[in-house]
Symmetry: D2
Subunit: 287 residues, 4 copies
């Protein structure tokens, strides 16, 4: 047995950069949370504390701000690629860069006034091994909270000795969608692609008469792949936010799926992947 | 010295009730978080554990669900009044009821499909001492996050020995508004009133050329009072979410208020009240 | 009707200051979160944006750091008094100062190495109107999570038409205590007082055979007052963290209070005050 | 191109089970958060909504409670193995089970009275493919917050065009440790192993004169492996919780590492693995 260093990475997480750009009196606003992870020739820093291969995380933060000034912030996928490629290109000791970006949406209230929309958060996860190396772009969203008040059934499941759940032909189906989708290339119309993928997720959620949350999940992924040729793989994580119909019989009332208790924990958690089977998997693109 | 019981109250907090109502194939959805506090003849339960005067918090929760079924959920102010009056009327030991409700907004995606909007949370705080007694309705909102990318100055302030801040003629002004407003009566067009008050807050925030966040706060309260005759007092709590222009000079770049670092803590916190001076204060309405 | 400015205050919230002091090779560590609110002659800043009366919140933050250097950090009550008195004394426009401090506890692991304890957070809330004026000190704690696995009953309560709860002679009683206590003067042995008050809360919680959480709350407050002569009023806020015995009968098992489901929401919320009736109330000390 | 279902799993997350056991008048308390994920022959449920292969997540929750009653809760690793093996053994459609458990520690205050300790959370992640199949146990902890007030340097790093950080010979080093360690087998003295691994992490953090957080991380992993023969791989995730020495020169004061500002975001994030190179990797054990 020898004790050795295994996989490792480091970087500056959660740099909160806000970029204002001016179009005459009209301002535009971008609001990002940028997290960087770098890896490469990092044995010495772990084994002896020799930092000669280490670009400080403080410099990474500075780079985010400087690039926001120099290049502006276009689509977050492009901003992530710009940063990731820079880090790998700039230092021989840095072999791989990972840039994760969350973008918060704002709605315009005036020429230079904005209200945070509070709708889902748009995300991007970019990897680059530099020119000629492996690169990948995964786009996505979190906190897209959706609910169908009918059109959801659950029955025909296994009944073991610990099963007390009654089958149902009508229930609320609610979830907070975290979705990520891998692009076929590192070049796409990111903004239009995002809006299309988001629309597909919502359409499939609303349009699927659901016999299980797994079925809904699969239809959501399938719809994205079918409509978005630039996307080759979709990963979905969907908590089943249980809404229990309250038993009102003790108070002499029926409850035909009108009054529900929205529970916090525990919750079902459904995770699944839908992909084009002609494309090689890329495990490194996702983490 | 005698050790005695002072003010006290108890109740069920954060009952999460979701109400679906059907208009043919079209469903309507309401999503509330209801917290109840009752007080009255509660000496015995504290001093000896005699529960004869205590309506269990579990029964209060049941009442929320049963009332949602029996009466439906109209405006949250009305639902709060209904509950508060019920508790005081139903038990002689309960003299005062306080009902606090938060409502989460959903946007329609289909006849029975919804997306949580994520915009601000609407609130109501109702007190009732029962028929003939004191009653009050305070409406409000939380988590209304707004930002002006220009039109904000800060200068002419005190400079003491610990002051290093430079005056500025142009900065980002950003805050997460918590606003509450007291109504003159317990009868109003709550929904229209809410939309009008919300619009006034946004208009005044966007429209005020600000020399200080206090000035903006006052204009927001003033605009609500001026436009909403049914409202007699507005209380605002507004954290100053600092956005610091990043010094890019070390990288040979200027930064004419284009790139900002959005800080978490510490933050300024501005709290203030704007009111009609002809109306008596009502401290009990707010807590 | 005239629209006027009502009560208001402003300040820097949540300045996170960590103070290291050296005793040879042995270091001592203090870790605080300090929030300041000032009020006084602030009409102009609200009405016209004239900041001549305003000490910037940035200067308040600087003062926290400078005072930590100059005076060190003794007990948080004293540090709060020092800051509050300074602000009122330093500027004629500032008439009232409120300083709220939370302290995070660390346990020693070595001469200069520490582990955050994670036990409750100690708090202080200080008001000062300056020399000769009103002053008050409220100490306290939050997040003291306690549980009795027996010795708690609940029965004899009101049964109305919405009551389905069964009376019980044995249940889990669990809560997260937020306690605050007002001191008779602004001079006390704060550290010893804190440890004594904390011990009293724990002793009374553990030692009370409880017929209701209200009874337990009262005994906790009473024990603090009886043992701590320097304290004249205790306010407690205690959520009833419900632990429901799981019905295992469907699986052919009994459950004699052995297996519980710990619920999140809704929860009971019990709030109450215990005080020395010979001492005038001081509503301004608490908010 | 064919759109197909890829990797997927489902289960009940965050079942909060509390178990009381009685030793005469003395009670013992265990407080867990249990999350289950199952996978296997789940094509049909995704493609058509046929639930014939699906054990409801509600039944999984019931199983947690029933097993807590039937078997008691020993070490969380054993409880996880018991559950994981049960699910795979009980249904032919379930091929793989993953059980993740977090345990909250309580300190005794009396025979049946407890205070939540608030120290770190102990974790276990168990996989089982059933008898004869792959099994793994990963133990760990989260929220172990540690700080060294000296004995940390950072210099000799890369200086690129975006580097403004000054090298330092003395700084605070603080982090919130998330550690997980893989066991060589599924049979160990889990409780003693946990205490030893925890002690090793603390000892190495306190005892390493650090030239970089990476060096400290490696020493922590190394110390666990060297002292705990039952462990073959350690993964650590350690945010660098920056504490910045405040510049007090504007106030005529020096600051010899006495007064610090504890920042929230951004933060460095250091992730690394230390392992016995003679043992095959087991990527499936960790996710």
């Amino acid at each position: 047995m020898a004790i050795v260093l295994g996989p490792n990475r480091y970087g500056k997480a959660e740099t909160r950069v806000v970029r204002v750009s001016r179009d005459g009196a009209t301002h535009h606003l971008r609001d990002l949370n940028v997290s960087i992870s770098l890896s490469g020739d990092m044995d010495a820093v772990h084994l002896t504390g020799d930092n000669a291969a280490v670009l400080p995380t403080d410099s990474q933060k500075n780079t985010v701000f400087a690039f926001a000034r120099k290049h502006g912030i276009g689509e977050i996928e492009d901003f992530g690629l710009l940063l990731a490629r820079h880090f790998v290109a700039s230092q021989p000791t840095i072999r791989h860069a990972r840039v994760e970006i969350a973008e918060y949406a704002w709605e315009r209230q005036g020429p230079h006034s904005f209200v945070r929309s509070g709708r889902e958060v748009r995300t991007a996860l970019v990897h680059s091994d530099g020119p000629g190396g492996r690169e990948s772009v995964v786009s996505g969203l979190t906190d897209l909270v959706v609910l169908n008040s009918t059109g959801s059934e659950f029955h025909g499941f296994i009944r073991d000795e610990y099963t007390t759940l009654e089958p149902t032909r009508d229930r609320i189906l609610a979830t907070s969608v975290t979705a990520r989708w891998r692009h076929r290339s590192t070049d796409a119309a990111w903004g239009r692609s995002y809006e299309r993928a988001r629309r597909c997720l919502l359409e499939a959620f609303a349009g699927t008469h659901s016999l299980s949350l797994q079925q809904t999940l699969y239809q959501m992924g399938r719809h994205v792949l079918a409509e978005c040729g630039e996307i080759c793989e979709v990963r979905l994580s969907m908590p089943n936010r249980h809404h229990f119909a309250v038993d009102l019989a003790p108070f002499g009332m029926d409850n035909d799926n009108e009054v529900f208790f929205a529970a916090d924990r525990p919750y079902g958690l459904i995770e699944g992947t839908v992909l084009d089977d002609a494309v090689p998997t890329a495990p490194g693109a996702w983490s």
